[in-house]
């Protein structure tokens, strides 16, 4: 065992961030493409071009999402328990929407009937739209704090409802995630397609990069007076996970605390702005490959900005401040964190290697001619 408990907790916070960012930049463009499907594809063949641009790889991309859930369960069981049961209906809607994706991709083109295909196109739109929105809404609610508390025997009791989750700040966060996934999906389509679809994708990419960055700035301004949370008692980062052993205060602007203490952190939101600008320029210059790298960086910086504000909180409680979950008091045991660290260190690079290889095999543009030639083999 080479790491202390507190080091492992920080590492696992980083791993969780990595998985979330991994999902946002891979699964994220799939979701964006789902939303854009009915708008960028005017004919059935164009829609098949769009679907097959992500067809061979979307399934693997979605595993990042499942994996983030799994890692949360293993490394942050209490966080998993609190977040999934509190955001019950938000997650249920997301699940129902996600159901439509494997079916939509696989079943849509298995029948020639236009009505059948039209319905699956709508399903794929919903399957992209709802998760893209809820992803941000969930983050927004983490920043707001969630109304839960621990009762006897550490039972988790939740005092909110679905409408409470849809508060204005969380909706703003939802719009940010939605528009950044649309930006990302459009840039990806600009890489993978030609002619009219690529032209529409370019316009969309530029417009939604702009929307993303404006909304991000708005949320940044909101954060300056939104109630944040802060641990007031001494932090014992090496002890057994017991969320009730600390004191927490709440107050406007506290989410900027970390940025006050470590001014270098401002580089993260700054990167988001700069790389968004570069995304627009590269997309405009018809260099979608570079634009894609910049849109990945934009997404990563936006998520890291939120993470940097929250740290060391993972889920603050808005009704029982000391029930709040932080990285110091809601992790798995030392043994489990250590074991899962090694499993991750071995398998995550392996996953990245074979995923890159699969992307390499499927490199190149998807065209209408390609669809016509392989009509019976493709989505």
């Amino acid at each position: 065992m080479i790491f202390d408990y507190d080091t492992l907790r920080i590492i696992w916070w980083a791993f969780l961030g990595l998985l979330i960012i991994g999902f946002a930049i891979t699964g994220g463009y799939d979701l964006g493409v789902g939303v854009l499907l009915p708008f960028l594809g005017k004919t059935d063949e164009e829609r098949r071009v769009i679907l097959n641009a992500v067809g061979p790889t979307w399934e693997g991309n979605q595993v990042w999402f499942v994996m983030a859930g799994g890692a949360l369960f293993a490394a942050w069981p209490t966080v998993y328990a609190v977040s999934f049961s509190s955001m019950y209906f938000a997650l249920l809607l997301t699940l129902f929407a996600l159901f439509l994706r494997p079916l939509g991709f696989d079943y849509r083109s298995k029948m020639p009937d236009q009505k059948w295909r039209g319905n699956w196109d709508k399903a794929l739109f919903v399957g992209g739209f709802v998760p893209a929105l809820v992803f941000g809404i969930a983050f927004g609610n983490l920043l707001k704090g969630i109304p839960f508390q621990f009762e006897s025997d550490m039972r988790i009791v939740y005092f909110g409802n679905l409408l409470g989750l849809l508060n204005p700040f969380a909706l703003l966060a939802g719009l940010i995630s939605m528009s950044m996934f649309i930006m990302h999906g459009a840039v990806y389509l600009q890489i993978k397609t030609v002619a009219s679809v690529a032209r529409r994708a370019r316009k969309t990419a530029i417009a939604f990069t702009l929307v993303t960055i404006i909304l991000f700035a708005l949320a940044g301004w909101w954060i300056t007076f939104l109630d944040g949370y802060h641990i007031t008692s001494a932090i014992s980062s090496n002890l057994a996970s017991n969320p009730l052993a600390k004191f927490v205060k709440r107050g406007p602007g506290l989410w900027l605390d970390n940025y006050g203490h470590i001014p270098q952190l401002w580089a993260i939101p700054a990167t988001a702005f700069i790389s968004a600008l570069c995304t627009m320029i590269m997309s405009r210059l018809n260099r979608p490959g570079s634009a894609f790298i910049f849109s990945c960086v934009t997404i990563a910086s936006i998520i890291l900005t939120a993470g940097g504000s929250l740290f060391p909180f993972i889920i603050p409680s808005s009704i029982s401040l000391s029930s709040s979950l932080t990285i110091w008091d809601s992790s798995s045991s030392l043994v489990t964190l250590n074991l899962m660290f090694w499993v991750t260190v071995i398998f995550l690079p392996l996953i990245m290697i074979y995923t890159s290889w699969v992307f390499r095999v499927f490199r190149g543009k998807v065209t209408v001619e390609h669809i016509r030639k392989n009509s019976h083999k493709l989505y």
Partner: protein, 519 residues
């Protein structure tokens, strides 16, 4: 206290979503291996027909796989959504195999499945074959880790309760992986998947033979399915899940309940073929018994007794009383008392804490439980016998009928004279049997563990999230509605593709294309 209705609804929701998920999983596990076998034959012999077989059965695999993935998402999220206390209480142990499943298996399977479908023209033959094997490996490894997690719920080894965090924590990961309950479960479940897929290929090939279509294609498919299926169904029966039932107290109760063994008999115990179990009187009416058989199956010996339910109940009473004490000591520890003697005493009886928690269903105040409440807890500390008794027999009957079908199929595929229509009809009409067997098998394993979510550790009714009845009524209706719609669509597509047969590949050499060309 948590309402019984919430717990019941949560259990129904879990049962519905898990049973539904399990309609698709065994076929995925088995068909992925069959595809790899077919493609290996193609690569070794170079004959196109085996490529066509891989691609055609691959299409059906895809239709099934989509719903397997869809409904698997629910499973991954449901623990947190509906069983939040379970997630908190055992996540340290239970979450690890689930996360490893994702990293080691599900990622691989999902990343390569795209290459399986769309990579035919982009990869060399050898490369594509490797991909197909990796998809098969991924789905089988997936089963391994899920069953390591489930095996731990049946026989929770390698973990201990920590009073500081109020949850179970891993002490030995090796014990968790090499848990005998998990090992047996894995072999049994995976072999059941192979059987399911073999029945699937066998039945559909038989259908083409009865129709007299694409005979070269269907005969080869039939032969592969028959051979693989016979080996698989033999493994399912010989390596039956029951042999794992000697490990863990709750497993023993499950075995006794399945067999309606009310009292411990002289070994080797007799096997009750049929009868009518009566839980109140603790007797089985009109029982037909075969001497010795149960003892042999259950313990693999002639002198180890099968513990009867009445003895198990008495043991449980002792442990519940000890559990009450453990719960009392835990309250003092939770209040911050760190007296050495208190800790030592708690550590010595904390293995009974779960039994104390059984009382939470009847009283908030476990320490002052009345004798009536203890009686109730004892009475309900074993599962209901009759449903287990019957579902188990249905499962076993399906298994033996399938064994017969596969024996006949192997004979028919090796001896031309024996290829009679009744053989093919038998192969076709017994198609539902593997699904009946796997669903009843799931029921036996999970219902047989009740009243526990994690055997001896955490009662099911405590595990549920603190949701309202309406929350779960809404979500359960949503699942039932969507899943029904999806099933209708899936079966519709399946039937359409099956009716068309290999002609859907548009290779210009199968039945319906011949018609189109006027041939």
């Amino acid at each position: 206290m948590i309402s019984d209705t919430v717990v019941e609804l949560s259990r129904w929701q879990f049962a519905v979503t898990a049973l539904y998920h399990f309609l698709f999983v065994p076929l995925t596990i088995g068909l992925s291996v069959l595809l790899a076998i077919m493609e290996s034959t193609y690569v070794m012999t170079g004959r196109e027909i085996y490529k066509d077989m891989t691609q055609f059965w691959g299409k059906l695999f895809g239709i099934n796989f989509a719903l397997g993935v869809t409904t698997g998402l629910t499973m991954e999220f449901q623990f947190g959504m509906n069983w939040s206390y379970f997630s908190h209480y055992v996540g340290d142990v239970f979450g690890a195999p689930l996360a490893i499943e994702g990293l080691m298996a599900f990622f691989m399977e999902s990343t390569f499945v795209g290459l399986f479908f769309f990579g035919w023209d982009r990869l060399t033959r050898g490369q594509h074959l490797i991909i197909t094997w990796l998809v098969a490996l991924g789905s089988n490894l997936s089963a391994l880790w899920i069953l390591v997690a489930n095996g731990w719920m049946q026989n929770p080894v390698g973990a201990e309760f920590n009073y500081e965090t109020m949850r179970m924590e891993v002490t030995s990961f090796g014990a968790l992986i090499f848990n005998p309950a998990a090992q047996v479960k894995f072999v049994h479940t995976v072999a059941a998947g192979y059987t399911t897929a073999s029945s699937f290929v066998l039945a559909i090939s038989a259908y083409y033979m009865l129709k007299g279509r694409d005979s070269a294609f269907s005969q080869r498919s039939y032969t592969i399915a028959a051979g693989f299926g016979l080996a698989a169904v033999l493994s399912v029966i010989v390596l039956g899940d029951e042999s794992g039932y000697t490990d863990g107290e709750v497993q023993k109760a499950k075995l006794a309940a399945i067999e309606a063994e009310w009292h411990t008999d002289e070994p080797p115990a007799a096997f009750t073929v049929v009868g009518f179990p009566d839980q109140e009187a603790m007797v089985t009416h009109d029982a037909i018994k075969i001497p010795w058989v149960l003892g042999l199956i259950g313990t693999r010996s002639v002198d180890t007794p099968i513990i009867g339910l009445s003895e198990i109940l008495e043991n449980n009473r002792v442990r519940i009383r000890s559990g009450i004490k453990a719960y009392g000591l835990l309250q003092r520890l939770r209040e911050g008392d760190r007296d050495e003697r208190l800790i030592t005493e708690f550590e010595s009886i904390k293995k009974d804490l779960g039994y104390g928690l059984l009382l939470k269903r009847y009283t908030e105040n476990v320490v002052d439980a009345t004798d009536e409440q203890i009686d109730l807890a004892v009475k309900n500390s074993i599962p209901q016998v009759a449903p287990l008794f019957w579902t188990f027999r249905v499962m076993v009957a399906c298994g033996f009928i399938m064994l017969f079908v596969f024996i006949v199929a192997v004979i028919a595929s090796s001896i031309r004279k024996c290829r009679k229509n009744w053989v093919f009809r038998l192969s076709l009409y017994t198609l539902p049997l593997p699904w009946i067997a796997v669903e009843t098998g799931w029921f036996v394993a999970e219902f047989g563990r009740q009243p526990w979510a994690v055997a001896e550790v955490l009662p099911t009714f405590l595990s549920a999230s603190s949701l309202s009845e309406w929350d779960i009524i809404l979500s359960l209706s949503g699942y039932v509605f969507l899943y029904t719609v999806f099933l209708v669509i899936e079966v519709f597509l399946m039937m359409k593709y099956i009716r068309q047969g290999p002609s859907i590949l548009h290779k210009r050499r199968y039945h319906f294309e011949m018609d189109e060309r006027g041939g």
